[in-house]
């Protein structure tokens, strides 16, 4: 009998509990055809596969809006909650569950308008999670109302003669919030950059805020088509500590700027570029920012005896 030496065997057998990309997919996504969310969904599922995230240990929390349907299309745990409130829920999930991988899916109305207060504080809490802002600059599900990121003059059903207030720049805003630790921008139509950004965000020890410029072919075709088609519309922020692309992917960009993501002041300056072009890449990263989820986990696992003891000590103060 020939003994079989596994060391010589070159065939990679699927390990017990290996997850394929299909293991993360749930029902067929019901976004409009051509919507940027489809590519993001695929990219996120790919990240889950690459990282081999156990589906039962992964939670997608969303608010309300087109993008917030996202958790329904993942075969993980999901929380499709209230408009604007994904961050408080996700923070509550993560606070005392360090074992869970938490993702937040939010939109421009969800994050930058109705949930803006939570945006400021969610960033400040800096719990380890990935926050994906699907920014299509319009309210889609409610059928074309001006969003806080709609370019000035956007024609919508609430502003048929064009919006009258300049939009919020979510990157610049986020870079102004206390304890910010990771801010990146990417686009839905360049998978290589999207994938690399998601991977970088997932590896970040804190809250990774990623704004994804997302196409809405139904309501915002005129806004996105030029950006998608014009090779001059994008500027790649390049740095060895940033989102690293291979040479082939890099060669598709006409404008490349060097930007050191440890430089917060420069990051804020870069965020201003949005007036002429769309800068994509890692604006800022600080791996040492204070993390509130670490505080949340600091006293896990106290025994019931200890807990009763502490309460009785306090009760003694009231004893007569």
């Amino acid at each position: 009998m020939i003994s079989f030496q596994p060391d010589f065997c070159e065939i990679a057998l699927p390990e017990e509990g290996h997850y394929s990309i299909e293991d993360y997919g749930s029902s067929k996504a019901r976004w409009c055809s051509g919507c940027g969310a489809h590519t993001i969904l695929h990219s996120v599922q790919k990240l889950c596969e690459d990282e081999q995230l156990p589906p039962e240990k992964t939670v997608f929390v969303s608010g309300i809006g087109c993008s917030s349907r996202f958790p329904h299309y993942m075969k993980t745990y999901g929380f499709h909650g209230l408009h604007g409130r994904a961050l408080p829920v996700a923070s509550g999930v993560k606070f005392r569950r360090p074992d869970l991988n938490v993702f937040v899916i939010t939109g421009d109305g969800d994050c930058c308008s109705i949930g803006a207060g939570h945006w400021v504080h969610g960033i400040r809490y800096n719990m380890k999670m990935v926050v994906l802002l699907f920014d299509n600059s319009i309210y889609g599900l409610t059928k074309k109302q001006t969003s806080p990121t709609s370019p000035l003059g956007t024609h919508s059903n609430t502003h048929p003669r064009g919006s009258v207030i300049p939009p919020i720049n979510p990157i610049q805003s986020t870079l102004g919030f206390a304890n910010v630790s990771f801010v990146a921008q990417t686009i839905d139509w360049k998978p290589a950059h999207l994938n690399a950004t998601l991977k970088k965000a997932f590896d970040h020890p804190g809250l990774a805020f990623v704004r994804i410029v997302q196409r809405c072919p139904i309501w915002m075709r005129d806004t996105y088509e030029p950006t998608v088609k014009d090779p001059n519309a994008l500027t790649l922020l390049d740095h060895e500590d940033g989102i690293v692309l291979d040479e082939k992917a890099k060669s598709t960009f006409r404008h490349i700027e060097q930007h050191d993501p440890s430089n917060l002041l420069k990051a804020r300056e870069m965020a201003e570029l949005v007036k002429e072009t769309t800068p994509i890449g890692l604006f800022y990263q600080n791996k040492n920012a204070v993390r509130y989820d670490e505080y949340g986990a600091h006293n896990l696992g106290i025994s019931v005896e200890e807990r009763i003891g502490a309460i009785n000590t306090l009760m003694d103060r009231y004893a007569i």
Binding site: E56, P88, R96, D99, H298, E306, R307, I311, T313, Y318
Partner: protein, 630 residues
């Protein structure tokens, strides 16, 4: 080494003391003069002596309201007696006032009666000309009101012992009151030491000196000295206010996340647990707003951690959308509402039971809620534990409604023995049973078991949208009907486990009083006093408001008239435009009328004050055409 320890007064019992069953004492002052500390100490000393005690704080809305003003009255009422005390009582027997102006706010609230002893700081008589005139006019006015006035050089006496009388006058007053009411001086001294335990020895000694000096002063300068017999119980007792009881309840319920946003009068519950909760396995999260506070708690609970959020009326208004989500998606959660006066910002520091209907119905669509209302300080503790159990068993939010009266009222009660079974079991991370749906609504009870993130095979997406048993978004008419029915059925299932309320008094009669929450003591005392005068009055007190305790209709049918007693608004028939037809009822009355088809009347007001027995007796006199008040 203590160089100069304060020495106790030597002679203490050279006069006859009048034996009394109880006394109501108030201390009122400008904010920051320590009146509350003085009264709380008197309450604690009396409780330690075995007396029944109830204290109520008198709190201005501002931290530093103008000095010597009617609106700035800050202080405390202490009612103590030989037996158990359950409410603030009627009129004060004795009031210590550190200036005359603050008394006016209390006089407006009918806090005193002819014959009430008024012990007043007399330094104002020789203050600025303007103040002296105001003081003298007030003293004249108080005489006309029939108060028994003692003008006392409090500041002058204190200055014999300390350089700044503002600090410490309260301890001098405490000493004085300890003598007038025969309080045990050693217990009092220990209480003073306890209050200043974090200060250095010099401060402790100077406060003890003031305590003894006040005690000494009362030996010679008053004709009245009382004693309130008491019996020390064998059982261990604790003495605390309702918010402190809530805070201990939160920890004893094994709560792992207490998520809140500062709001009066709820926040002191969080203060009371802040130092201990982390050793007790929990953490307080102070959120960025009321909405985030409940959102965070909902997220934590979804992830399998026991969670509570504590707020007051305006916070409930903001949390309403999340409350609806928690009911829709069946997320266990304890929501504590320490009610205050409303609507809007209302009366932040005052008492009202105005949130009942908002809590019951304050969400779009059909959102069946479990609502409990503790009626004593002791119940504030136990109901949090009960609420957590119910929240998990029935997979739904559970409300605990208290109010500013319970929150700040202090009462002794038997010390609870913390049980290991009150704490949550370790997080269930065992694989989800194959084939079991996320909302496997039981046909009879509506109850289903929930998967918790980390459980293999239990993955689902929770949603606030209409959903089927798999938590899939579903707009199918039959599915929605079934889902709404199932959530409602849980209330019926819980109701099956409840007992009818106990009737306080006879099972039949002329009038039944129905109350909920903090009014219990006042209602039961009024009913007892009325009964002593021959009135056929009984009372019941509801602690489950949703689902309702069973058997109410049967109880109501045995009385000629049923009337709720509540601290919230109702129209008075006979006022302009108000008729029997258009009258708006108080909240429990409205709800009970709908639930039992009984013609239920109500006694209610929004003075922002705890209900006193005499207010109830006055109404009973009219209803029953009897003289019930001496």
């Amino acid at each position: 080494m203590i160089s100069n320890p304060a020495s106790q007064p030597s002679e203490t019992n050279r006069f006859e003391r009048t034996k009394i069953k109880e006394a109501v004492i108030e201390i009122v002052s400008d904010s920051g003069e320590g009146a509350q500390k003085c009264g709380q100490s008197l309450g604690a000393i009396s409780a330690k002596m075995g007396n029944g005690v109830w204290t109520v704080e008198i709190i201005p809305a501002e931290i530093q309201p103008p000095a010597r003003s009617k609106a700035g009255a800050s202080g405390i009422r202490v009612r103590m007696g030989s037996n158990k005390i359950t409410n603030m009582g009627d009129h004060a027997d004795l009031v210590v006032a550190l200036n005359e102006q603050v008394l006016y706010g209390r006089i407006d609230q009918n806090a005193y009666k002819p014959g009430t002893y008024l012990l007043i700081e007399n330094k104002w008589a020789t203050h600025t000309e303007e103040t002296a005139i105001a003081y003298k006019e007030s003293i004249e006015h108080f005489k006309e009101l029939g108060y028994n006035i003692f003008e006392i050089p409090m500041e002058k006496e204190c200055l014999k012992h300390v350089s700044d009388a503002k600090k410490g006058k309260n301890m001098w007053v405490l000493g004085l009151l300890c003598n007038l009411y025969d309080r045990d001086l050693e217990i009092a001294a220990n209480q003073v030491k306890y209050i200043f335990r974090k200060k250095d020895e010099k401060i402790i000694q100077s406060n003890l000196e003031l305590l003894y000096a006040g005690y000494e002063y009362a030996n010679d300068n008053f004709p009245m000295h009382f004693t309130i017999p008491s019996k020390l119980s064998e059982e261990d007792y604790v003495v605390m206010n309702g918010n402190e009881a809530i805070s201990l309840g939160v920890m004893a319920a094994g709560i792992e996340v207490c998520s809140m946003y500062p709001i009066t009068p709820a926040t002191s519950a969080t203060h009371a647990m802040a130092e201990t909760i982390e050793s007790a396995g929990g953490i307080i999260h102070q959120a960025e707003d009321e909405i985030a506070a409940i959102g965070f708690a909902v997220g934590a609970s979804y992830a399998g951690k026991t969670a509570v959020t504590i707020t007051s009326g305006p916070g409930i208004a903001l949390k309403t959308e999340f409350i609806g989500l928690a009911i829709m998606a069946e997320i266990p959660l304890v929501i504590i509402d320490v009610q205050r006066g409303g609507p809007s910002t209302g009366l932040p520091t005052k008492v009202e039971q105005g949130d009942l209907l908002a809590v019951l119905y304050g969400a779009p669509g059909d959102a069946p809620k479990v609502v409990l209302a503790p009626s004593t300080i002791e119940e504030c503790f136990h109901f949090v534990i009960l609420a957590r159990k119910l929240a998990e068993s029935f997979r739904t939010p559970v409300f605990v409604l208290t109010d500013a009266n319970l929150a700040t009222g202090v009462q002794p009660f038997p010390r609870p023995k913390i049980k290991a079974e009150w704490f949550p079991e370790p997080l269930d991370q065992s694989p989800w049973k194959e084939g079991v749906k996320v909302y496997d609504w039981d046909k009879h009870t509506g109850i289903s078991k929930r998967p918790i993130p980390g459980q293999k095979g239990g993955m689902y997406t929770l949603t606030g949208l209409a959903h089927d048993e798999d938590s899939h978004v579903a707009y199918d008419p039959a599915i929605n009907q079934r889902a709404v029915e199932s959530r409602s059925r849980k209330l019926a299932a819980l109701r099956e486990t409840l007992k009818p309320p106990t009737i306080h008094g006879d099972e039949e009669g002329d009038l039944l009083l129905v109350g909920w929450g903090s009014t219990r003591g006042a209602i039961e005392e009024a009913a007892e006093r009325a009964k002593e005068k021959g009135a056929k009055v009984s009372s019941i007190h509801l602690r489950f408001l949703s689902p309702m305790e069973p058997g109410l209709k049967n109880i109501f049918d045995k009385f000629k008239k049923v009337m709720t007693v509540e601290i919230n608004y109702s129209d008075t028939v006979g006022n302009p435009l108000i008729t029997v037809e258009n009258r708006r009822y108080s909240q429990l009355a409205w709800y009970l009328r709908a639930q039992t088809l009984t013609d239920i009347d109500c006694l209610s007001n929004v003075y922002g004050q705890p209900m006193s027995p005499i207010q109830i007796l006055q109404r009973l006199e009219k209803e029953l055409n009897l003289t019930l008040i001496d």
